[in-house]
Symmetry: C3
Subunit: 472 residues, 3 copies
């Protein structure tokens, strides 16, 4: 640094002193992972850090540049104290209450599972130290994110607390660490914040259960129709087909149904709105829940479609398929018959694959635009164009692909083993319904009513009966 | 909360009162989607919300915890009023102007299409209520993003307005809701902000048109050469080949051309700079526009390459291909000839596939690094390394893949049906030019000049003529 | 702001004046790319911009709306000066020092490579202008990001400087441009900030070297075993197999080993912790470094797996494979033997493919959740669930896939050409070790100890010997 060499300018201009601004001192209780990560980060951002420890001389390692003191001394030295210890060890803080009086206590703790304690950790801390200003913050970040800063990981810090000044102090620190802060209100929100890091895919539960249920159902349905039926009627063991052939029937069926289930609630909602003539009445709860997990439904459907694609593409390298093809070539050779190329079959087979590929391509596009960073870069209109227009096109391609697969199969009674329809027929039910309903909604007269309802803020008047009569 | 029970400590320590800080009151006009979503979010973030409605007792549902009043009463109760109604209904605000005097009016409205009105909604609002401080904000967010907060969706809020204080007040609210604010200046920017949510892939238009044009051209070109030629000369209907064989010729051709078009403007720009001996003169407009949509060109090219890969991989399961293979095996068998394995063909065929796979792999890598979140995590040098160095490598692999496909086809006259060259030859034109130009630019002497021009801030001097002579 | 100065008009219409608030004036030195991009952005955000140039009348183009002055005049007109010139041309600033006294100088410069100069550019600038307040900022952004704003590119601006006030002024500007600011402390951090844009995948180096090393080793190992061995013993040239067959052996082997190397350090760390009975002692440096690049290892492994999948899927369209299949069909035909379908082989082959597909599917899922925007949207627990639980499942599927590939190959001596084991056996070593160790760690007694160590903040006591004895 150059300024040390120019002592004269120092008296005139505050720069000389500004060269080494006295960094703010922060205190951390707890030298665990979290405490150390946080301390390291604070030191990097130019703060001075003091650790409070029960045994200052034999505590775990602390980041270079940080001091270790007794809890009492550490608490007295700083105005902000980060509590990075586990709730079970909060007890001693009650005795420290006098030292913590009017200090900002930042509760960073998390629990191992939900509802472990009757009150949130931060509320418990506030009860122990009633005269301190407790702020719940930073708990939703991993120690990793704390240590490495926000550039690669979540930059959002949630905080709550009863004292606005205390929250502002913590906001300032978080902002300086590079995080962006979202205030969640008073300390009573602490429980919600403490539950957040414990949640495990809450929105994925329903779609996952549905996917498992459908997979299990179709697996046993097709197992019965294919493997068990063959064994029962022809005493032939074709159980090896479970691994690929059966899987490659179950996956596309589940995928198509789930894709259709993505778009069904939207259609149902439109019907509700048309029927009621307003968009201001709440949808039933089940419809709301369903609509909230559409993205998850769609992504699971995409995963199943991805597996279907891979299972289809490995078909020609399977031992069984190679065996069959060789056997059929030999058989043809022996019979000495020259079968003609059937152009209709060629058209059908190629269209079938083409529809599948285009459908899958659009599917992947939908998946990519669901990535948070991509959907953020899209304007609202762009996002709805892709997710709605292209979404229905995807559904159409995939449904058409399945119809082409079936072709005239539904006419031949031999396919109705044990009076059950083939799996693909069952899979066509929901998508066909969705597409037909969507087509009806696109009829000019219906579409006009619907658009007016969706734009119209004032369509709650009783004279709207005329509207309802359009569709009832 | 435990502190309410300890009233004695209240006088000493301000915590008791801080426990229930009086939340700020905000007013929302309009109980539509936007109004409700915004209100819900504001309530969650600890604000008090009052709705203004024409008929306070029979308006649509409002979020729990919010009050509904007449417009006048609501406007008087708060200093910030969110206008969540459609522009057509702004009229009544003129009568409310006295109540809205010196209030901050946040115009959240959007229009259904661009240029619907001569002035921006926010400017119209300002004209109706000249004594209010109008701020345009939040309109670029969807109701969904407003309701669910910024964690999963766009966190950027654009605002503009003439009063700095008013903008600061709105900034504070937006920040508390977790958004980050970008000030776009005075209210005259409102039109731009109102157009933003209406835009539909403006940067994608040119590349999409190009892709459609190229696809259409090559489709008809190849249709003529393959299907119509065969029908005209041999009276054989091979139209079923449209679905897969033809598509799988059109897609890779368009993909390769568009990938080359991604890198052509960079090469042209370098030639311009070399010729002019400076980088400070603007490029022609067409080159600027072209360079701006390179990312979109590349992503479309990747989409076509993806389809090409899928179309290629399903080849062996096509009915037509299986028929052909069986027929050829039977023919070989009958002729009783044992053809030897041709090592050259094996080398060529395997190299062809290998180049294609490596090219596609790099292609996908380029696509992944185009994702906003990935490119953000890269330093500038890393990004340009991938997009430039790896980009040219991709182009080289894909071009080489196409040359291997052609092999000695260009020598045989039978491939020039109706005197037209095969499609793959046309596709090789642009990439070959780009690669040759790039190689020339990489020659040490040219590269040195170019690097100096790109670094040199001062190469505008007239004595730079020596430089120009290098390449002219 | 204008309102303070016009108290009278406030009661009437303050808006007319507020409509044109006097924008702040900023000065930029340098009219190069960076200077122009920055100026354009500042103008867009409502600042007035003045450029300082040596030759104000013949300098390069500046954005519309900006003025050009001499350096002296420009410096005097504004309180913040952006230095957008290259370090080599800083010299003249020493003479400008009086004009720059007490100004905020924002050093935006970067160098062409690391360690080009003994001191950071910003420190050099501070030495030249000791009475100015130098702030290093914006240098980590590309000119592109500066010009187009933060919505599509990195929104993080790093800054450092000795004067807190100066940093606050720059923070305000950066925030108004839409960036979020991270303060990195005093000016001594400038070197770190200047090195940042020059870094080229520092975390990828070790994994990339490893990948290249493994690829080279296995390539030559398999080249020797397959091609050279065949040539040496049978005088048959099968070198064409290098392009696909050999590549498709090398890629999965390297992929599996690297995937296992992703999970090995975690297992080793657990063993360390169990042995030491604490988690508070630092791991050895090599383990720390290893653990830091696990993500990169995994992504490279995924890239190799992706290539393996593509190489596998093109197998049936290869000339060599078609030739072989036709030859084998003809041979079977001639021998007139009807081989039976071997159900065991069918089971094994199908399971082999199925495991591979499921493993690859999970692999892709792991890759997707590594995308910054996706991992940000996950809670800590969700992320560790996917990366750990699903990661081990992926490793298991892929290892099992490889075991199924090998099947009983290890029993047949003909596979041990020149006494070397087949490549797939070598690839199974590391994953098998990792899976066995992981299984041991999952044994209830070991798992309980480990969980306690990882939760227990206080397990450093000497009485923990009992703990250690559990596993030693």
């Amino acid at each position: 640094m150059s300024k040390e060499e120019k002592p004269e300018s120092m008296s005139l201009y505050p720069l000389g002193t500004a060269a080494a601004p006295e960094p703010e001192l922060l205190c951390i209780f707890g030298t665990g992972d979290l405490g150390r990560s946080l301390g390291q980060r604070l030191l990097q951002s130019g703060y001075k850090v003091v650790y409070g420890s029960r045994r200052p001389h034999s505590c775990g390692p602390v980041p270079q540049g940080a001091q270790v003191m007794s809890h009492t001394a550490a608490a007295q030295s700083a105005s902000v104290v980060f509590i990075c210890i586990q709730r079970e060890h909060y007890g001693f803080l009650e005795q420290l209450a006098p030292q913590l009086k009017r200090k900002v206590l930042v509760d960073v703790s998390n629990n191992l599972r939900k509802n472990l304690y009757p009150e949130a950790n931060a509320e418990y801390l506030q009860r122990l130290t009633p005269e301190a200003y407790v702020v719940k913050a930073f708990n939703t970040l991993s120690a990793w994110a704390l240590q490495n800063g926000p550039s690669d990981s979540n930059r959002q810090v949630y905080l709550c607390g009863n004292s606005t000044e205390a929250k502002e102090a913590v906001t300032e620190i978080a902002t300086r660490l590079g995080f962006s802060v979202q205030d969640r209100g008073s300390l009573s929100a602490a429980r919600e914040l403490e539950d957040f890091p414990l949640q495990l895919f809450p929105l994925w539960r329903l779609p996952l259960r549905l996917a498992f249920g459908l997979t299990a159902f179709f697996f046993f349905y097709l197992l019965t129709r294919d493997v068990i039926y063959t064994y029962a009627t022809q005493k032939k063991d074709i159980s090896f087909r479970i691994m690929v052939s059966l899987a490659n029937k179950v996956f596309p069926i589940v995928s198509l149904i789930m894709l259709a289930l993505c778009y069904l609630p939207g259609v149902i909602a439109a019907v509700f709105q048309l029927y009621r003539g307003t968009k201001y009445r709440r949808f039933p709860d089940w419809l709301d829940r369903w609509m909230l997990c559409r993205k998850q439904l769609g992504l699971l459907a995409l995963a199943f479609a991805f597996l279907h694609v891979l299972y289809t593409l490995i078909i020609p390298i399977r031992y069984y398929v190679r065996y069959k093809i060789a056997a059929s070539t030999i058989a043809k050779m022996k019979e000495n018959q020259t079968s003609e190329l059937d152009t209709t079959i060629a058209w059908r087979s190629d269209s079938y694959y083409s529809m599948g590929i285009l459908g899958f391509g659009l599917y992947v596009l939908l998946g990519i635009t669901s990535l948070p960073s991509v959907s953020n870069a899209l304007s609202w209109r762009e996002f709805s164009f892709i997710q709605s227009k292209l979404g229905y096109l995807t559904l159409f391609f995939c449904t058409f692909h399945t119809y082409l697969y079936g072709w005239d199969m539904f006419l031949r009674s031999s396919y109705y083993k044990w009076y059950t329809p083939p799996g693909y027929m069952l899979s066509l039910l929901v998508p066909s319904v969705v597409l037909v309903l969507k087509l009806l909604l696109l009829l000019p007269c219906v579409d006009r009513s619907l658009t007016r309802i969706r734009q119209g803020w004032e369509r709650t008047e009783p004279q709207d009966d005329s509207q309802k009569s359009l569709i009832t």
